[in-house]
Amino acid sequence: GGDDSDSASSGSSSGDAGGLIAIITPSPDNPFFKAEADAAAAKAKELGYETSVASHDDDPNKQSELIDAAISRKAKAIILDNAGADASIGPVTKAKDAGIPVFLIDREINKTGVATAQIVSNNAQGAQLAAQEFVKGMKSKGNYVELTGKESDTNAGVRSKGYADVISQYPAMKKVASVSANWDQQEAFTKMETIIQKNKDIQGVIAGNDTMALGAVAALKGAGLLDKVVVVGFDGSPDAIAAIKAGEMLATALQPAALAAEQAVEQADATIKDGKSGKEEKQSIDCEIVTKANADEFGVFARKS
Amino acid sequence: MTVLTGSAITKVFGGTHALKGVDFAAAPGRVTALFGENGAGKSTLMKILAGIETPTTGHIAVDGEPVVFTSARHAADTGIVIIHQELSLCANLSIEDNLFLGRERVTAAGAVDRKQERTAAAAILRRLEEEIDPRTLVGDLRLGQQQLVEIARALLQDARVLIMDEPTSALSEPEVEVLFRMIRELTADGVAVVYISHHLDEALEIADDVVVLRDGSLVATAEADDVDLGWIVRQMVGRDQDSLFPDRDTILGDELLTITDLVVPDPSNSDRLAIDGVTLRVRAGEIVGLYGLMGAGRTELLEALAGRIPIQSGEVALAGEVLARESIRERIARGLMLVPEDRQRDGLVQTMSVGENLSLAGLLAFARRVFLNRRDEETAVSRTITDVTVKTSSPKSPIGSLSGGNQQKVVIGKALLTDPRVLLLDEPSRGVDVGAKADVFALMAEQAQRGLAVLFTTSEAEEALHIPDRLLVLSRGRIVGEFTRGALTREDLMAASGGSIPSTKTGEAS
């Protein structure tokens, strides 16, 4: 977000401290990516680096431009939450060839050996946790709706599949509708309302992320169905956790975004200092399920320490 | 004594000196006619007096009190009302909307008082003997009718000074008669009227005082009774005007334009026939005139020939070859080109220079394979500028910096650059001053000598009587009379066009 990069910009012109670490995330107006960026930036400063935070709005071309910029600024390392498993291979390779190690967080790319590390929260595992909680909440039966993320986003697919793997084992559970709400709250709200009109006999809603889950909650509340319907999301955003405490949502799979970002920066530091990160490339961090029972234990995309 | 006076008014537009220190006064109860060639500065002076343009230097006084107009509205509120040379109506609004635009009659509730407006509108239209439903869209009206709306709007504001800049350029004679009657009523009520028109005799007829501008300077003032047309023309042009209508001997060649039983539906109104079975022939070296009243269909005839509007039946042949579905450009390529009636709307590209406008139609002639040959183009353009005597500082000047007459010459020059075999001109003298008129007609004659076939329309009896070798009178889409030059009188003409009572004008014997 704003503050970090502002101070960064003033910093970046003042000469070379520990060098520059470029942090690139999809969009700062989503709490998850923001937490990621903030955590990474904080860690990097702590380790004595300048930082620059930018976002690519899931536009592969813009991402490629941002990486060019990092290269021409002779960044020491790049922390990247990328804009597409395939579309990002080129740019990451480009950075590698320029001698800049790239540390991927949150999303993988479909190629190994170009990025120094790919630290991703285990979306499949998280999805399964969420789905299991969902099934429990629905007492293994009934009609449910799935709100999926942007079709052209890898994680949307991974999570949807993760949900299916679990839920498909319960024949009594019936998916009555599945629509994409592009990760967006208002779109989720509108589409949920429309679906309710089509079919009021719904016991559950499982969404590809918390923003959409909260949109669904608002719609269900308006229709007076919320007490009869369990809603499960993904990400573990503060708003979702609040909703869980309030009993409006059943559960969400929390991705330890902050953790991944911090680890990425630490490994970047190691790589800059002594050439190797000391970890293998593919690292996955397990998600944690957040329910009313344990909600208090969690802060901003991380367990409270 | 005088209501409105402007003293030592100057106006500079970018590089142009429209006015160079002009004193002007309008007296109550009198009609002051303002004469001057195109670009003399008439409209500019009037716009300044009506608060539309601000003078570069100079002062305006109302009833002797100096004023500085902040806007057209300000001037209107002090009783100075202007009818603009170029129509300023909203085509998307009804007549009544236009009549009361900006000065709505409102009810207590603050809403527009439609009922009151409609009755007032109907009344004024009746006085103008133009009984149209006030709810009619102005866009559906003919040029002439629109001009009447413009006049009606001015009349609705109780003006102390009424400025009329070319109010009759699209009016038929009877409409002009009506207008004159109203002007006399106004002056009787002590209104000061300023009247500008290129129909000199008409203007002289209504005038009490005469003022002549030349190149932005005031060159003469007089009482209307003391002067005649000749004098006015001398003052305008600065020298004796050789006759408007030079005699010429015609050498007729073979038939270039052949029209047989042409039927053209009215584009604006598809089951009214604009042209209803017209047959006519024009030979090389011949100038044929089309006379008719507004709406007679002359424009439609010419536009149909040019390929602008589709024909329903009949045949058009150019030098024997029948033109069927040829596009406008194919017709131009074959040597048939139209000089349209409304030069602003159809003749000129305002964003381009004089030179670019001139070469637009004949452009392909300068194309060497794919590219334009600039040198060829420039020579051709500057040759044309001298040929048609366009008054411009350079071919690169923006077309907007030219006055009406000169713009018209550019449009004609553009047509000549396509070296046509048949030249169609729709109202070539509309809104053009005597000097330019003479030039234009001289041009037509010259082209005819060079073996072109010329077909032109006019609404002015004088031109109809003297210019063409043959005159065709068109009425409601039919040819109702054919005369050869000299063989007809003004009276014949009026009778034939089913138009109006011949007007009794002093300036007629010229």
Binding site: D29, P31, K34, T194, L214 | I52, L101, G110, D133
Partner: protein
């Protein structure tokens, strides 16, 4: 009827003129109706098709829900209509939606004055948010009138500026549970988007009220005539003493206010405000206005048509979701419908002209 202007024989002439006059007037009226008819047809087709394909489409509750969705774009479209009537365009409305939500969120979260945190009541919050929207509109207006910046560019610039502002104020975060707190006396915000009167959502009433107000404004007040005149022929309007600049400035402010209201409704529905709300909404609003028979060149269009246009866009979107059509197809179909609806317009107008002419001719020959 080609002799409307020549004198003798007067009798024939006057009859003639009267006839053609009547004919034209009549033709006018028909045309007026047709302008919406076109949009109505598009809407009718949509409704029929969806009703045939889904039994849950044409139910009372679903129509109410869909209308509620339409309300948001409808309110934006009404503001846009005025701008388009004047011959302009407003690309910034989407961003204003986001900005006004953020402002509301900020205020409901409490404002710190001299160290103490004050919680303004909801009505203050709403007024401030709308004021902010109006302000952005005013900037658009100033850029267009004082600095002669083309409306497209001026509002494109403000599209970015307003969005940037929304993100900066909120620091990119979403304002959660705007329900308010009884103790702080700032509850009731969710009524705007969540409340119902006689089972009908408040936002629908808001749309209806605005529609009526705008119709009166356009039809009855001098402002309306000035607006059409400015859009039809600005120079002529100016020469007639119409305060053109003021008219222009006003429409952008009104449009901004409408956008702000839409933003509030959304925030209230979700009881949370996201800075990125409203992205690309401007396109839907413009589409609604144009489908409603307005000309982007200005001077032509009306409230009824615009409403119908908004319903076309809204019902289409919801109908496709109801049918479970894939997002990809939804996008493609939306584009096709926009173009078709407008083509339909063109076609009908040409057809209509001919029809009216015939009618006119008939009358004349009859008299």
């Amino acid at each position: 009827m080609s002799t409307a202007t020549t004198t003798p024989p007067p009798t024939e002439e006057r009859r003639d003129a009267a006839a053609s006059a009547a004919a034209r007037a009549n033709r006018l009226r028909v045309l007026n109706v047709v302008f919406e008819a076109r949009a109505f047809i598009a809407l009718a087709v949509l409704i029929i098709v969806f009703t045939l394909l889904s039994d849950t489409f044409l139910t009372v509750t679903n129509v109410i829900t869909m209308t509620k969705h339409v309300a948001i774009n409808g309110i934006l479209a009404l503001g846009m209509l005025l701008v388009i009537l004047k011959g302009g365009i407003d690309l910034s409305v989407g961003s204003i939606v986001g900005l006004s939500g953020v402002v509301a969120g900020e205020l409901l979260g409490g404002v710190t004055l001299f160290g103490v945190v004050a919680y303004p009541p909801v009505w203050v919050t709403i007024l401030v948010a709308i004021a902010v929207g109006t302000l952005v509109g005013a900037v658009n207006g100033i850029l267009v009138t004082r600095f002669n910046v083309a409306p497209f560019i001026a509002t494109l610039g403000m599209l970015y500026v307003a969005r940037g502002a929304a993100l900066l104020i909120s620091d990119g975060e979403t304002y959660p549970n705007l329900g308010g707190d009884p103790e702080l006396g700032n509850t009731g915000f969710n009524y705007l988007g969540g409340g119902k009167i006689l089972g009908i959502p408040v936002s629908i009433y808001l749309l209806a009220i605005l529609a009526v107000v705008f119709t009166v404004l356009i039809r009855k007040a001098p402002f309306g005539r000035w607006l059409y005149a400015t859009g039809g022929n600005e120079r002529a309007a100016e020469l007639s003493g119409v305060p053109v600049k003021r008219v222009k400035a006003r429409v952008y402010m009104i449009s901004g206010a409408c956008a702000a209201l839409a933003g509030l409704i959304i925030a209230s529905e979700l009881t949370s405000a996201a800075p990125q709300a409203g992205e690309t909404f401007e396109l839907n609003a413009i589409a609604a206005v144009v489908i409603g028979g307005a000309a982007l060149s200005g001077g032509r269009g009306n409230v009824r048509g615009t409403l119908v246009g908004a319903f076309v866009i809204g019902f289409l979107a919801d109908g496709l979701v109801n049918l479970g059509v894939s997002t990809f197809w939804q996008i493609l179909i939306k584009g096709a419908v926009i173009v078709l609806a407008v083509m339909l317009d063109q076609g009908q107008q040409r057809f209509q002209k001919r029809g009216a002419a015939a009618a006119a001719a008939a009358q004349t020959s009859a008299s």
